[in-house]
């Protein structure tokens, strides 16, 4: 028995050591370990990383994962330490905050030729600060409105499928009311389901600031309230005063509040999987939900463009990644980051999750985005896509405005909430 056990141990040890031996044998330089901080299920994904390692045999990876809700806190603590992760995966709109704080390396000089022509303008704007690009970006998302065909069909509703037929919010409200089943405020089937982001409560800037932004007009006089309503913050990020509590914004927010209160077609609290369980007629989400439904069609579904008041608008943005300025291996970390976002590696990364690519040439490699329903996302992104108000203080703006929108959804006074938000943003910008 003993010889068998001994042989098994020796054999097992030898097998376990094989990969390391293979890598050591191929590596002729100094071994490097790149430390990556990311959220679970996020890129860079194993397949492109392994493919990249074949060309860079001296590089190995150490991956640390934290839930998205703790990502910004973790970056706050780790990025300024003496030994931060080399690659930081983070929420795209925070690029300017991180760039201003000096925790990201500018990548402009390392981007491949033709990148400027390929990248989506909204992505480039979001990932740039002071003339420098800090993240090449891999994927892009936006939101559209999913609907449950069985429920809308039973209510005699045919939602539009193209951008030029998109509903206005009052038209959408009529559809929510017609489709909802049960007492307003506590129905069995909601007209508009809750978000899956955060704790499921309304108010997130990514999803809900578009109500009031769509009441504005980007082509109006820059001094007008309509123009300020659309931008929701000065385009240079210097102030939000007069941008959030305009008459147009307040009117839109009155409507927004009514969805959760007077009309009672949308819940104030999260209901896990409400749309997928047939408990909501309509539901706003990213392409990730469509990808999941394509793989496992638990319901019959369709997509309709996001409704609007005056100017259709959707927010862009996604998690992205950059190189920590205190990285101990900046050269190889930059090369890894740029490579992962370009060409075949970018394709491999994007195809894992099903969101949209940031490079124009990759769209044609995703047939699912060529036709309805997922094509709605591409069309929206190209025609209506806007980054969330870019600013080195976006994280603060995001939190303040989310709180204000949530208080409106819970029944608060829009004018008071937005005036308070403007004061708080001014306080944050003061620093």
């Amino acid at each position: 028995m003993k010889p068998v056990l001994f042989a098994t141990l020796i054999g097992g040890t030898a097998l376990a050591a094989l990969p390391a031996l293979a890598q050591d044998a191929a590596c002729e330089g100094e071994p490097v370990t790149l430390r990556i901080l990311r959220t679970p299920g996020n890129y860079p994904y194993p397949a492109p990383m392994e493919a990249w390692q074949k060309d860079h045999p001296c590089v190995s990876f150490e991956i640390n994962e934290v839930p998205f809700a703790q990502l910004a806190d973790t970056i706050s603590v780790q990025a300024s330490s003496d030994n931060p992760p080399d690659i930081l995966v983070y929420d795209g709109p925070n690029t300017q905050s991180y760039a201003k704080a000096g925790i990201l390396l500018p990548l402009t000089g390392y981007l491949p030729e033709g990148w400027d022509d390929e990248i989506l303008p909204a992505t480039k704007a979001e990932h740039s600060y002071d003339g420098e690009v800090y993240s090449p970006g891999i994927e892009q998302t936006t939101v559209a409105m999913y609907y449950n065909k069985a429920l809308t069909g039973a209510a005699g509703i045919t939602p539009p499928q193209t951008l030029d037929e998109a509903w206005t919010w009052p038209e959408a409200l009529e559809a929510f009311k017609a489709c909802q089943q049960g007492e307003p405020g506590a129905p069995e089937v909601w007209g508009l389901g809750p978000t899956r982001f955060g704790n499921g409560q309304p108010g997130l800037v990514y999803q809900d600031l578009i109500y009031q932004r769509s009441a504005g007009d980007p082509d109006a006089d820059p001094e007008s309230s309509a123009w300020k309503t659309f931008w929701a913050m000065a385009p240079d990020g210097s102030t939000a005063e007069g941008y959030l509590d305009t008459p147009e914004a307040i009117e839109a927010l009155d409507f927004y509040r009514s969805l959760f209160n007077e009309e009672g077609v949308a819940p104030k609290a999260g209901i896990p999987n409400a749309f997928f369980d047939g408990k909501a007629c309509f539901y706003i989400d990213t392409p990730a939900a469509g990808s999941a439904l394509l793989k496992d069609p638990v319901i019959e579904w369709g997509i309709t463009p996001i409704p609007y008041f005056k100017t259709p608008v959707v927010h862009t943005g996604s998690t992205t990644f950059g190189v920590a300025s205190r990285s101990r291996h900046p050269e190889i970390a930059v090369q890894f980051a740029v490579d992962m976002a370009w060409g075949e590696y970018a394709y491999m990364n994007v195809s894992q999750r099903g969101n949209l690519p940031t490079l124009a040439s990759l769209f044609e490699r995703f047939p699912v985005y060529q036709d309805y329903p997922m094509k709605v996302f591409v069309d929206q992104l190209e025609a209506w896509g806007q980054p969330r108000p870019p600013s080195p203080h976006f994280a603060q703006y995001d939190r303040i405005v989310t709180d204000a929108l949530r208080s409106v959804a819970f029944g608060g006074d829009p004018e008071e909430a937005m005036a308070d938000a403007e004061r708080e943003v001014a306080r944050a910008l003061r620093r």
Binding site: A72, D73, I75, S76, V77, A79, S80, S97, Y98, A101, G102, I103, G185, A186, P187, N199, Q201, P267, K268, A269, I271, A395, Q396, R399, D403, R406, S407, F410, G411, G412, A417, R427, A428, R431
Partner: protein, 309 residues
């Protein structure tokens, strides 16, 4: 006057320490040293750094760029409403928790100290929330208080009352998280009171009953006064727990609606990590520390025991 002026009265001298005593002292220091070192490293040095940071303006993203701003962070507490509102919400919350926990914990302790049946089961039931994670408790109460599908609203509508918004109403959210916290902590208070009750000499109550006192009179005139030390301890512990509460605001309400549940510790966390204003967060922490110390001292003075047994 000195000892020399008083013949016959020798100056008190310290008794010589034996080698055994010196050895014991060295051993005691050796045992205590690791704890003292950790206390210094993880409590007092951070406290000192916090006090220093209260006079700085900096973000966690870029601490190297910190600059001295004097009393600006403390001035901001007076200029802006957030600190006042958050402290007011926290005091209301603490008052609510203590007001519920003290009488309820005492009544439960009386029950557990009696010879009534089912004491074992009740003891287990009231202790379960105490040992359950705050995250689990908050998640469970989130479901219970759901405005549309929650069990509590099911009961409310079943008796013909209108559905309540609970956690989404600025008027109700703070009350509900105070109730939830009290529900979780009442078992702990009951066990503390039970310990106190079992330490009250039985002879006093027996003597009073022989003299004709009713059960109520014994409770009011003997038991409650003799429990004043335990009551003091429970009040201080519950107040400090409540002033340090974080989980309900973080997990259930995000500090809302309209900042009505923006408890001070959550506000400090949000200020440092989300708003990236670590200097102001440090200043808020200093103020909280002073307040907690002050309240503890005041309560200990007000509720000091006047009886010994």
């Amino acid at each position: 006057m000195t000892a020399i002026d008083c013949p016959g009265l020798a100056a008190p001298t310290r008794p010589r320490r034996t080698p055994r005593q010196r050895r014991d002292t060295r051993a005691a220091y050796a045992f205590v040293a690791p704890f003292l070192f950790l206390l210094l490293l993880f409590q007092y040095i951070p406290l000192a750094m916090m006090a220093k940071n209260a006079f700085m303006d900096y973000s966690l993203l870029n601490p190297d760029a910190a600059k001295f701003v004097g009393l600006l962070n403390f001035e901001d507490m007076l200029v802006f409403d957030d600190a006042r509102e958050s402290l007011a919400a926290t005091f209301l919350f603490a008052f609510g928790v203590v007001a519920i926990v003290i009488p309820l914990g005492f009544v439960l302790a009386l029950f557990l100290n009696s010879k009534l049946p089912a004491r074992g089961i009740v003891r287990t039931i009231i202790m379960l929330p105490v040992v359950t994670s705050a995250v689990v408790v908050a998640t469970m109460w989130n479901f219970l208080l759901d405005p549309s599908n929650g069990l509590v609203n099911g009961a409310v509508t079943a008796v013909g009352l209108p559905r309540q918004p609970f956690l989404t109403s600025p008027d109700q959210a703070l009350v509900m998280i105070a109730v939830m916290t009290a529900w979780q902590q009442v078992g702990f208070a009951a066990i503390l009171f039970l310990g106190g009750l079992q330490g009250v000499p039985k002879e006093l109550a027996e003597a009073a009953r022989i003299d004709g006192a009713t059960a109520g009179q014994v409770l009011w005139n003997i038991t409650i006064p003799l429990l004043s030390r335990t009551t003091l301890f429970v009040v201080v512990i519950m107040t400090v727990f409540s002033l340090q509460a974080f989980a309900p605001a973080f997990l259930m309400t995000d500090g809302g609606p309209q900042d009505s549940t923006n408890l001070i510790v959550y506000h400090i966390y949000k200020t440092a990590f989300v708003m990236q204003n670590a200097g102001y967060a440090s200043a808020l922490s200093v103020v909280l520390l002073v307040i907690v110390l002050g309240i503890s001292l005041l309560q200990m003075w007000l509720l000091r025991a006047r009886w010994n047994y």
